[in-house]
Amino acid sequence: MESGQLLIILATAIASATPLVFACIGETLTERAGVINLSAEGTIMLCAMVGFVAAKTADNVWLGFLAAAIVGALIALVVAYGAITLKQSQIAIGFVLALLCSDLSAYLGNPYVRIPGPTVPPRFPMPVLQDIPFIGPLFFREGDILVYAGYALIVVAWFYFYRTRGGLTLRAIGEQPAAAFARGHNVIALRYAYTLIGGALMGIAGAAFSLDFKAGWSYRHTAGYGWIALAIVIFGGWNPLRAALGAYLFGVLQSLAGVAQSAIPDVPTQVFTVAPFVLMILALVLTSGDWLDRLLSYLPVNVRRSLARAIHTAPPAALGRPFEQD
């Protein structure tokens, strides 16, 4: 494989993974606060439809993104109300919403299937940055404003999580809600807020598909991406930086599947469309099981420690559990 070809594969991967970056960071935020929003699959699908329809109706892409973000937050509000206030199973409510919203997208979006609509306006190549060898064409060649927004989101999320007081509180309400409450934080209100923000980011992810990266809308337009986002959050160990890396890795797998398609003619092309999903879940399986510990135990102690630290991650301790204020 030529280096030029590799560069194209990687640049494509970064672009196609950008909506996933929004979804994964949104879900990471939600789960760090102690709530699982399992509706991702339906949220992304419905918001892809809503974003497209709103942008088409108003003839304004940014209103499309706004509408998608609002709908994403509203779906998250249902999850938050059911899970936090009513203390019902987050998994059950999220799963029902995943199915409900994807069917809703098909039903309400029916008149908008496969028609042209507005897309994110022209490219913004970065003046100086795009001339840096390798880095330039890799990260800035496409010049898509959403790709830049993805980079910015990663940096902001990382900084917020690990360098601000708000981030510290966020992590606390997912790990030790009782302690955070004792220190005067309103755990319930904060969990609501982070779940809504996470939902809005997932909504933006949906609109990013239908208004930019897979422009247009059709039924099951974003099929599978919500489940993958949920898996990537675990793969990323509830860390926004690693989750974003996971999303880009998934993009690379998809690009490679596209290449493999032409390289291995014996295997039917349709198989490659599911391959990245299978591989991603396999990666999850391989990095979180008991067998990893057993494998690591054959390595020298110091190597083992740093490897285990790098691979092993634990979910927020209070993830999925309602908080009893009294």
Binding site: T85, L100, L104, W227, Q270, V274, V285, S288, G289
Partner: protein, 365 residues
């Protein structure tokens, strides 16, 4: 009310706040119906017309009733299987993959028994069909146990182990349909070459409903009701589901119990997949599971994991699915309205349950 501490002594009587719990549940149900009407309105149709067409579409002709029953049979199997995993505290989202792999195993069996170019099946057709259903069940077990092993020994959330295996099963089905099992000449999403008619499961008259599938669905349901209500196994399963650690400490073999739940659910789902092959499609198609596994999850959530109520709810859901197929033809609406109705009903049942628990009048005493 919220924030009110539980009464410490018996005498100040707990303030009778809130209404009887059933009021909240009925209220939630009514809201879900209003939302359904609203969704229909938004799409520019009249709820009365839509519901009329759906009822007509489900029960208008013998053929349509037959289709409702043909959908009901595998749905009963999946829902019955999911009762075990739900009661064990597992969200088995892998049931779709178990249906698919069961269907693949059944197709494989029939292809072996009736190789291309042969003029008759190697076994008498009834035996061949029975064997295919059996092997389909084994395929479902294999796929279910795989998810179970990943969960029990790999500490993977059963949700992701199951979803991963769903993707994998779909991948295998697509590979087979476009690769080794492709139709002579054309390989397409429409599936493999249909089986010889001698290998089709017999139907009620000229409808799509097959007595064997219906009987298997009902048998699975009855077994499930008996097991969950009257056996030690069912009791232990519930104990594991309520509190895994406590059950383990009290001597319940928790791992074996969890794996058994995956095994039984896989068996039922695999049989459902085999029935889709021999009874409905007569070939392997990429979407052989037809979302019946996810629909089964909704059914079991709506009945709150109690198998006694599965039959009426599953029948209602099947009728919705078949009735909605009329919508694109007569009103130009998407048939996914049935999914919207089912989803809203289940969502509001969950919310209503929560409201009743939180605000409902507590039993006195």
């Amino acid at each position: 009310m919220e924030g009110t501490a539980a009464p410490q002594t018996m005498n100040p009587p707990a303030p009778i706040a809130g209404l009887p719990p059933t009021v909240y549940r009925i209220g939630a149900f009514v809201i879900s119906l209003i939302l359904v009407a609203l969704v229909i309105f938004i799409s520019g149709a009249s709820p009365a017309t839509v519901i009329g067409r759906m009822v007509g579409g489900a029960f208008g002709t013998a053929d349509q009733i037959g289709r409702v029953i043909a959908t009901l049979s595998p749905l009963l199997l999946c829902a019955a299987g999911l009762v075990y995993t739900f009661n064990a505290g597992l969200y088995n989202l892998g049931v779709e993959g178990q249906i698919t792999f069961g269907a693949i195993a059944a197709t494989w069996t029939l292809r072996l028994l009736y190789p291309e170019g042969a003029t008759a099946s190697l076994l008498p057709p009834p035996a061949a069909i029975a064997l295919a259903i059996l092997v389909g069940g084994v395929g479902g077990i294999a796929w279910g146990l795989l998810a179970g092993a990943l969960h029990v020994y790999g500490r993977i959330s059963e949700i992701f182990a199951g979803l991963g295996l769903n993707f994998a099963a779909t991948g295998i089905a697509i590979y087979l349909i476009f690769g080794p099992w492709k139709r002579p000449g054309v390989a397409s999403l429409s599936g493999t070459q249909p089986f010889d008619e001698s290998l089709w499961l017999g139907t009620f008259g000229r409808t799509e409903a097959t007595p064997v599938a219906l009987a298997l669905g009902l048998i699975a349901l009855i077994i499930t009701i008996v097991v969950m209500r009257n056996t030690y196994f069912g009791l232990r399963l519930r104990a594991v589901g309520r509190n895994l650690r406590a059950a383990y400490v009290l001597g319940v073999p928790a791992r074996r119990q969890l794996l058994s739940a995956f095994l039984i659910c896989g068996l039922f789902a695999g049989v459902a997949g085999a029935l889709q092959v021999v009874g409905v499609f007569h070939r392997l198609i990429p979407n052989i599971s037809s979302n019946l596994g996810f629909l089964g999850l909704l059914v079991v959530m709506l009945v709150n994991f109690d198998p006694l109520w599965i039959l009426p709810v599953a029948f209602f859901f099947s009728a919705l699915n078949i009735g909605s197929l009329q919508l694109p033809l007569s009103l130009g609406l998407e048939s996914s309205l049935s999914g919207v109705i089912q989803g809203l009903l289940v969502l509001f049942a969950l919310l209503g349950r929560g409201l009743a628990q939180k605000y409902g009048r507590k039993p006195e005493g």
